[in-house]
Symmetry: C2
Subunit: 507 residues, 2 copies
């Protein structure tokens, strides 16, 4: 789903190793010839750059196609060990077919992706085990120079606790390899959630846009206290209209954002009726335990005038409510992306800033997003996701991939939102390839000390600079210019993604 030219981020070759040893051989070859290599797992990763490498012409190492074994599922310890090609669907189906009724898989919105890859990118899911990175235990990693390490208890020969205790002895380097280009992860372990003994989805709607601030203030203490037990999803009605899967042209053919009035008009036909915000949640545990939490939630949400609890039995079986019900109960699904049909040849990119869970922050981010979308004539589809103490606002921008003008607007709009947010102290948690330099550049406290630190580690572990140059804004010495010198006005960072000639050490 290219947001710049289709061939800006393009691979020269794709290779399909089947073992860790083959990954080592590829890495050694890349060092010998100084060829950039870019590992991927499996799945689409649509909103964040798909399977493309950051550097044009890099060799993509597709770990997913042949390294797709589930190496262990332990129903007593509630753990698993997987290779990069294991999808949420594959893990879920294996657990079902082996009859492990006590094990749940925490799944993200789309179940076709890699369990390992999602965690490495610090993706989230929708059960109490939603922080996938936090729930990992143990990794096997091929370093950029070809050695293999195992982290945590995996470094102890004959150990019996690789997936049980994440830390081992001494420093834990695991985090260095997440959202980065410091190594290629070939095995990874996870804790699996034990069946909670019952679950129950609920949906509340709120009638006014201005309810946002009060709602977020209600959510914060309930979420931290785990009364709201999973990642809270507060979705705007525009997202629900787009989820119907009809194109924008069915609602409006004029310029600018689709007027709010038309969105609300369309929303009247939805099973839950019109509103401004929808909260999808799930309570876990046996009935009495759920009731305790649901009663508190009901009392708190109903403080907002116009709040309404939607009776699930009133909703048709194909309603989006049941998509969220499946996902929050650990059943992989693929319906979420229906809103990409908003434009023909729809692509999307996401603005994903992190903020405190406060009304004033929700309002400030919502204002930034609307202002920039108005500036660039784009619709916006926002969801506030409350992790635990922090909130990610996810604003999806949908564009027509064949429309260069709209693509450029989408890109400029996102660049603008990123800068606006950073000025107010909000940073992105994850991004598309095209925005990595800009975002790494916003994390520039003390003259970019953290990026300089990352570069130092990068040069130490990858002296030839072959592994995924530029990922997360980290360039090896041969490619390096400072990411934080670039801003929304300077698109030249995208031209940085070319392989330097063998002799050059700096572009």
């Amino acid at each position: 789903m290219h947001v710049s030219e289709e061939d800006d981020f393009v691979a020269s070759v794709t290779v399909y190793p089947s073992t860790t040893e083959e990954v080592q051989a590829i890495v050694r070859w890349a060092n010998k010839h100084r060829i950039p290599i870019s590992p991927i797992s499996i799945g689409r990763n649509y909103g964040y750059g798909g399977a493309a490498p950051r550097v044009r012409g890099a060799v993509v190492i597709d770990l997913g196609r042949r390294m797709n074994r589930i190496l262990d599922i332990n129903p007593d310890n509630c753990t698993c060990l997987v290779e990069p090609g294991v999808t949420y669907f594959a893990l879920y189906e294996e657990i079902q077919s082996r009859g492990f009724k006590n094990l749940w898989v925490d799944v993200p919105d789309i179940g076709g992706g890699s369990v390992l890859g999602n965690a490495m990118d610090r993706g989230v899911g929708y059960t109490p085990y939603g922080d996938h990175w936090m729930m990992h235990s143990g990794m096997e990693i091929v370093l950029p120079t070809g050695e293999v390490i195992r982290t945590g208890m995996g470094a102890l020969p004959g150990n019996n606790s690789w997936q049980l205790f994440p830390y081992g002895f001494g420093p834990t380097a695991d985090g260095l390899f997440s959202q980065s280009n410091m190594g290629i992860v070939t095995k990874m372990g996870f804790g699996l959630m034990p069946n909670p003994g019952g679950y129950e989805s609920y949906l509340y709607t709120f009638s006014k846009e201005e309810d946002l601030s009060q709602l977020i203030e209600i959510i914060r203490p309930l979420r931290i206290a785990m009364i709201l037990e999973n990642v809270a999803q507060l979705r705007h009605i525009s997202m629900q209209v787009a989820l119907e899967g009809k194109p924008r042209s069915a609602y409006y053919t004029g310029k600018g954002r689709v007027p709010d009035k038309l969105i609300h008009e369309a929303a009247k036909n939805l099973p839950h009726g019109d509103c401004a915000w929808l909260y999808y949640g799930m309570a876990y545990g046996p009935q009495d335990i759920r009731k305790y939490k649901l009663d508190i939630i009901h009392k708190e949400f109903m403080k907002i005038p116009g709040a309404r609890q939607v009776d699930p039995t009133s909703l048709p079986t194909d309603d989006y409510f049941w998509v969220r019900d499946r996902i929050a109960s650990g059943v992989p699904d693929i319906e979420e992306l229906r809103w990409v049909n908003w434009h023909p040849n729809g692509g999307h990119v996401a603005f994903s800033p992190v903020s405190p869970v406060r009304g004033q922050d929700a309002t400030a981010l919502w204002d930034i997003a609307r202002k920039r979308c108005d500036e660039f004539d784009l619709d916006l589809f926002p969801t506030f996701c409350v992790g635990l103490r922090e909130m990610h606002l996810i604003v999806e921008i949908v564009f027509n991939r064949d429309d260069a003008v709209m693509r450029n607007k989408a890109r400029a709009c996102l660049r603008g939102m990123i800068d606006d947010a950073a000025e107010r102290g909000y940073g992105e948690y994850r991004t598309h390839l095209a925005f990595m330099d800009q975002i790494a550049g916003t994390y520039n406290w003390n003259d970019g000390a953290l990026l300089k630190f990352n570069e130092r580690i990068k040069d130490c572990l990858d002296p030839n600079g072959i592994l995924a140059p530029g990922k997360s804004g980290i360039w090896p010495a041969r490619y390096r210019r400072r990411g934080w010198e670039m801003s929304s006005k300077d698109e030249s960072s995208e031209g940085q993604g070319v392989i330097p000639s063998a002799g050059s050490t700096r572009l």
Copy 2:
């Protein structure tokens, strides 16, 4: 509490910086003169080497005395930001004095230590927030070359979420600095547990040593499902007898372990009476919620013949039960170490292997510990601590610090246990200075690949090898010999801790 000669691990000078800038100045000075420096926070850290440096003659940087400010407590977000010198007592008292009834502090057994330091060493506490490392969010670190970085959202200038979202953007290097010598942490943030709305301690006793295996099998699923909500403590009766604070000589003056018969004889006088094992736990939440969990726990524990629930109202107010009650409800305490009086001039070291939560592993580790203690005529005080999916057996060995023969036995005994455990796939999670090389050496999968990786990062970040050489078995290039070449038979590793002459690059 020296377990080798008193001056084996001894500092030449102690310095007391008051700011991050002063820490930077010290680090730059150490680089200029190639002097080893060894940072400490505050507290005793008795069982793991105290405040001593690994390298004899190093300059100790005491961060605790003057860098002891609580920089932030946020009652809405349930977070705090502290300097190294903030103890559990200080944080607890500040929260009480500011009237934040909704905030709890998770405390370890002894409350006089550093909140930051305990987390850096990956210590644990006894509420559901017991994994202190997991609950941190954001660090400020002085690198061995003097630069300062902030991790997570701290790298974004003007951010508002440093203590809310631990990951930021790109790689998260935080783990590199835990249990290590890669940097000096000068600020660290934490999530604080919201008041759960009620709590209730309970104690069960089990009559036979052979109950251990069945008990652990009962604990595993309850702990993973969070029916047992805090770090489960299953303590041996010998520990309870020693907690009375009387010396061993009050019970026995013969050679070898105090006979089981005499321990049980003494136990009959304890308020809870004689038994083999004691389980101390706490249920959290309002009464109905607690009852749901307590009923399940009772039903499961009572499956063991001879199991007995102790009525807390039958226990005197100075009973150890109330120590555990305070700790599990977030009130700092200092009673735990009463068992050190077992010997005059008592010192202690701990055998702390990690294992699966299985009956067979508990039995195997308990056998290893008893066999080695018998070999060296030492008593042993074991507690099984179930973290979540893994168990730490903590075997405390108490010795008379003035008795060189007993000290040597304690050391040899621990070395033997470490090797016995590693042969069976069990590794330590933390250790005393004197055993770091040996333990790092057991984590030697793939020809010591992880230690080589750690050394590579060390040499990159600390080219002059000034920061805490040898910590966790990681030696900078100037000092390096391979830790894993040493075993219990080879004590020469302890001689490695001398400062190399300026010109030498390798000892």
